[in-house]
């Protein structure tokens, strides 16, 4: 996994609530047996017409907005547990998703792929949408070490939550599986003790 430290970027605004993982990556794209190419179908049904041409009114097709931070309405990533949603977001080039609320499974999947979910207050989120609305080149700075998110248009900053273990994993590019494999002996002891 890639290391994550700080990031300053313009943002792509998606002010829709309850964006479920079926919208992030529809089920018909889950037939692959590897992790490649999901970024091309990120938000496929909102992004493309039936004939595959881009829907010009969707934000990913609007050249005004770009950057590696996606800013979305509350309860982002609800529904299906498909990790393909995190692969699609990562594959498209987003490193951070900012929202006022995330669904549990998506949040875990994102972290396991080095994509940082940043929870901000409803007010902060509304202000980011407003700033980006009036100036699309508005940037946010995400500082993982200090756990802060800053709206550079207003200078306003908030701290965000992440457990120290996951933070270390992201800062050092480590996976959970590395940790679990180091505990093999303990797992065997646990199994023996239960019988």
């Amino acid at each position: 996994m890639e290391k994550f430290i700080t990031l300053t970027s313009s943002v792509v605004p998606l002010p829709i609530e309850n964006v479920d993982t079926d919208q992030i990556i529809p089920a018909r794209f889950l037939k692959a047996t590897n992790k490649d190419g999901f970024g091309d179908n990120l938000f496929a049904d909102w992004r493309y017409n039936k004939d595959g041409s881009p829907k010009t009114d969707f934000v990913l097709n609007n050249p005004t907005y770009s950057g590696s931070i996606l800013v979305a309405g509350k309860n982002f990533g609800s529904g299906s547990s498909r990790e393909h949603a995190a692969w699609a977001i990562d594959g498209y080039g987003f490193k951070v998703v900012v929202s006022s609320f995330f669904a549990d499974i998506f949040r875990g999947n994102a972290l396991n792929n080095g994509v940082l979910p940043v929870v901000v207050s409803t007010e902060f989120l509304a202000e980011v949408f407003a700033c980006v609305g009036s100036n699309p080149s508005t940037t946010l700075t995400i500082d993982l070490k200090n756990q802060t998110v800053t709206n550079n248009a207003t200078g306003k900053s908030e701290t965000f939550e992440i457990n120290t273990y996951k933070k270390e994993c992201l800062l050092n590019g480590l996976d959970d599986i590395d940790y679990l494999l180091s505990k093999k002996e303990q797992i065997e002891q646990f199994e023996k003790a239960r019988v």
Partner: protein, 463 residues
């Protein structure tokens, strides 16, 4: 004093990571073809074996056709995924592999309980959010991502932060014609689609105790639709009677020992939950959804909220969803013409659902304007449908059975509802495009589905 959740969680803690999550031991891992291939690739890349092969049960269900299952799968990409699944099961020596055509094949959350893999007190995971179904037995069961599938295969453990706990109590009795699905859709409409995020829910109260094992599975199945990590019901005689005698359930002395332990699995009096909610079961009527998430539900006789009844931040999403569904705010849906009916899925694809549907349509005829897909959750359910004579009644009423699988619930196969068409569906999600690009889903229980199939319209099954 501990909750049911605390008792099971605490019994599975291998270690606690400093400043972080818990290392939790997993008793049963279910696996399907769609969310597992990348996990097996990960094992290969790291040169790892499956740590406890007998603790993983595998079935193909999501990306499978529901006709001609004895023929080679036509879609080459789907075929490749199914072949990869079989190759992985063989390469990693996984003995509990139930591929397409196997007598034990079917929807993962249906074949697990019916074969006796699901036990009270167990920790159960699967790369599928509806794993919460198994909580009906008094288990901690939840959906995981593919990275976590890899962790479980490699170590039989995952890292999880301890969720908060919530108890939802249903006092009183459900009315006539009101099903477990209606109870769940009612609850989700009150809590909203994210209202239980961060929580593990225990369902309690008279109306829950009175549910059969299959009805309890329907309720727990839908826990994720209000964002809950999982849902559970304390095991009782209903649970023990269901598990006893099933092929992979404990036997003999092992059964007696297990039973004694399972009887201790309930929430101690006075144990604290982070949140408590109480509903009166008598307030619930047959439910339908009108929008594009499962929280957008209402009683079948009620009207869609008006714009002013929706909070301001949610209005863009609400209007988007009305546009997608072709409905007007404030509109009543009873009497509205529909095009498709889907009976099936891990929510409502069990024998009791087919019994309820069949009892309603008996002696009636399917409406000419309706295409009905009746998809048993497993071959065992299919066999029961035949043996109990339900198929004859269904055939007489103009219905046909398809072969088991997830089918139109997520429409990965050809069972897609065409754009703009309305489907009354017993599945679990009415998201945009869930049942096919542009498909308009109205979630409901098996009785509302049966009534719609007969009248061709949204119809109150109590009339």
């Amino acid at each position: 004093m501990k909750t049911l959740f605390d008792k099971i969680w605490d019994a599975h803690v291998v270690s606690t990571v400093e400043g972080g999550p818990t290392q939790l031991y997993i008793d049963r891992h279910f696996c399907h073809e769609v969310t597992s291939p990348q996990a097996f690739n990960g094992l290969r890349a790291r040169g790892l074996k499956v740590f406890r092969p007998e603790k993983t049960t595998l079935t193909a269900d999501h990306n499978t056709p529901t006709i001609d299952q004895d023929q080679p799968v036509k879609d080459p990409i789907s075929k490749n995924q199914l072949d990869t699944f079989a190759k992985n099961a063989a390469e990693f020596n996984l003995p509990l592999f139930f591929p397409l055509g196997h007598i034990k094949n079917g929807v993962v959350h249906i074949i697990g309980p019916e074969n006796g893999f699901t036990h009270p007190g167990a920790t159960i995971v699967c790369g599928d959010s509806h794993t919460s179904t198994h909580g009906a037995f008094g288990a901690i069961a939840f959906g995981i991502g593919t990275s976590e599938v890899e962790m479980v295969l490699a170590t039989q453990c995952i890292l999880q932060s301890r969720p908060k706990t919530m108890r939802i109590t249903f006092d009183g009795k459900l009315g006539k014609g009101v099903t477990a699905k209606d109870l769940a859709l009612y609850m989700i409409s009150k809590l909203t689609t994210g209202g239980a995020t961060g929580y593990f829910v225990e369902y309690a109260g008279e109306a829950i105790r009175n549910l059969s094992m299959e009805e309890r599975m329907t309720v727990c199945n839908l826990s994720i639709e209000m964002g809950a990590r999982g849902g559970m019901i304390a095991p009782d005689q209903t649970t023990f009677d269901y598990v006893n005698g099933r092929e992979f359930a404990p036997k003999g002395e092992e059964w007696e020992k297990s039973l004694a332990y399972w009887k201790t699995l309930n929430t101690d009096e006075g144990a604290k939950f982070d949140k408590e909610i109480t509903f009166d079961a008598a307030d619930i009527q047959p439910m339908i959804t009108y929008g594009t998430n499962p929280g957008m539900g209402m009683g079948i006789t009620e009207s869609i909220p008006t714009l002013s009844e929706v909070d301001e931040a949610g209005r863009i999403s609400f209007q988007k969803s009305m546009e997608y569904m072709g409905f007007q705010p404030g509109e009543k849906l009873e009497g509205k013409q529909i095009d498709y009916v889907f009976l099936g899925s891990c929510t409502n694809g069990r024998i009791e659902d087919f019994r309820a549907f069949t009892a309603f349509v008996k002696g009636k005829k399917k409406a000419g304007n309706v295409i009905a897909w009746l998809v048993p959750g497993s071959w065992m359910v299919e066999k029961q449908i035949r043996e109990e004579g339900l198929l004859d009644i269904l055939t007489e009423a103009g219905f046909a059975l398809r072969q088991p699988g997830c089918s139109a619930c997520l429409a990965m196969n050809d069972d897609k509802v065409p754009a703009g068409k309305y489907a009354v569906s017993t599945s679990n999600r009415n998201f945009e495009g869930r049942q096919g690009p542009g498909a308009r889903t109205i979630l409901a229980g098996p009785l509302v589905a049966a009534a719609a199939a007969i009248s061709g319209k949204i119809t109150d099954p109590r009339n």
